[in-house]
């Protein structure tokens, strides 16, 4: 079924009776040309582009829960291309362009909203760092403006500009940045992949990876063995467990990241705003909830829930920046399992096993990466060569020390990002 404005109107007039499920619920076949493990944003996008760009349609996505039950449905939905280092910069730039065409390509409303992102700065040194980042963004062909204090005041009048500890000096404005409806991104890719013949198999946990003579031959699952000559591991926070099934030990540690949402309010925050002096960023969802978050809890965790010290820190930082949010009531908080890499940048690469591919290390920033990650992972699986915008995402860069991508400049070691 194709979606259109006309269709929405006719369905509304007919009592919405003829909408159909967005995808099939097939039984797993015994053999596929390629298997993608993980039905999150990256896995579904990989399957979609395998079919769409490379004509590989005999493909299965194996998901242990339901589609979109992982981080794709838990993130704070920020989409941006404001990375500074070669390797990351062209990748995220490509990703933002794919976002801009996503709704047309998928015939699906993902509520992509380019409302603009403003990263605030609070000192001269921070201003210089943001000026440099802005220049890097312009050099990669994206948009960036350095706003002074009055420039920020014009668009964000509700901030506490004269906070005694952290006065606002200005902000880096990225107008093409924004947000999207996270579940819809998973659903849109799922529907698009299904339509092109991909089997989306839910409640199917991969429990083993079968390797014969250095070549992958298939996987073991809770729904039986499935054969395939190509297997992609795209399981975000669970990467270490799945890679261990193929005897690999990854440079990944799984950490918890929390997020928070308030009750629905009338429109009050029109952009994405990040605080430069503490861990806090915020936007307002189309439903009206203020969606905000901060930094990791900073200990390894698979709990999908965090502890109170970080909740307290995030909320204190929010109150420092925009005291008005103290009036809003917090509705919910939750957490997701982040696949943290030592340098804070991802991995899209082959492994030492023929036909086994790895996609992980998205840390807390993999939502914006969904389209480009799927695009490049599909390219790698279909052609056995890295896509040019993902060339830098090598698995061996930690061992060799060549091509590390440490955006924060804090070092290539666990627990620093």
């Amino acid at each position: 079924m194709r979606f259109s404005g006309l269709r929405v109107i006719t369905e509304a007039l007919r009592g919405n009776k003829s909408w159909t499920p967005h995808w099939r619920n097939p039984e797993p076949k015994a053999h596929y040309d390629a298997i993608v493990i993980g039905g999150g944003g990256h896995g579904l996008a990989t399957a979609f582009y395998l079919a769409e760009n490379h004509g590989l349609r005999n493909v299965a996505v194996l998901e242990k829960g339901y589609l979109g039950s992982g981080n794709i449905g838990r993130n704070t939905t920020i989409v941006r291309a404001n990375y500074g280092l070669p390797g990351n910069s062209e990748f995220y730039s490509h990703s933002l362009k794919l976002w801009e065409g996503m709704e047309g390509a998928l015939n699906y409303n993902v509520m992509h909203s380019q409302r603009g992102i403003i990263n605030l700065f609070h000192s001269d040194g921070q201003r210089d760092a943001y000026a440099r980042r802005g220049n890097a963004m312009i050099n990669q062909g994206d948009d960036a403006f350095l706003l002074d204090r009055e420039g920020v005041r014009k668009i964000l009048p509700y901030l506490d500009f004269d906070n005694t500890r952290f006065p606002i000096y200005g902000g880096l404005y990225h107008p093409r940045g924004g947000t999207a409806r996270h579940d819809a991104v998973a659903w849109g890719y799922a529907r698009g992949a299904d339509k092109r013949g991909v089997d989306l198999i839910q409640n199917c946990e991969v429990t083993g990876i079968d390797v014969d003579n250095g070549k992958v031959v298939g996987v073991q699952t809770t729904r039986g063995a499935i054969r395939a000559p190509k297997v992609g591991i795209v399981v975000a926070g669970r990467s270490s467990q799945v890679a261990a099934m193929a005897g690999m030990r990854l440079p990944i540690e799984s950490h918890i990241l929390q997020a928070f949402v308030t009750e629905g309010l009338k429109p009050v925050i029109d952009h994405v705003v990040t605080f430069g002096a503490g861990h806090f960023y915020i936007s307002q969802s189309d439903k009206g909830g203020l969606v905000f978050g901060g930094d990791l809890d900073y200990y390894a965790s698979y709990a999908q829930r965090g502890n109170l010290p970080i909740a307290e820190h995030v909320i204190e930082a929010g109150m420092t920046l925009m005291p008005m949010i103290g009036k809003a009531k917090l509705l919910r908080s939750w957490g997701g399992i982040m696949d943290m890499s030592p340098d804070g940048s991802p991995i899209i690469d082959k492994t030492h096993i023929d036909g086994l591919y790895l996609n992980c290390g998205w840390c807390y920033g993999g939502f914006k990466a969904v389209p480009a990650s799927g695009w490049c992972m599909a390219h790698l699986m279909a052609t056995d060569t890295p896509h040019e915008v993902a060339r830098g995402y090598r698995l061996d860069r930690f061992a060799t020390g060549r091509g590390l991508m440490d955006e924060e400049g804090t070092g290539s070691q666990h627990n620093l990002h």
Partner: protein, 90 residues
């Protein structure tokens, strides 16, 4: 989360800093091969379940602790001193 420090007793998470997996205690010899150093510095078992980690009691006795903690439930079952406090008591 609360950690029972062998020096200070049960204390709030806020007093401690996570210092990574206890693999850091098994430093390879200076002339070990690169693969061993890569394993030590970067590669991790990253288990979902009980594991041994290092925590620094910065706002308490300043000792480094080895802590056995479950990464799924956050239950802390044991803690040992790795080093004596930096000042005073031996």
């Amino acid at each position: 989360m609360r950690i029972t420090c062998p020096n200070c007793g049960q204390r709030d998470l806020r007093e401690f800093t996570y210092m990574g997996h206890a693999v850091a205690l098994n430093r390879p010899a200076a002339d070990a091969d690169l693969a061993q150093w890569d394993d030590y510095l970067h590669n991790r078992d990253n288990p979902a379940g009980p594991t041994d980690e290092l925590w620094y009691h910065g706002a308490g006795c300043t000792a480094w602790l080895k802590v056995r903690r479950d990464t799924v439930t956050h239950v802390i079952s044991d803690a040992w001193l790795v080093m004596p406090p930096s000042k005073g008591v031996k």
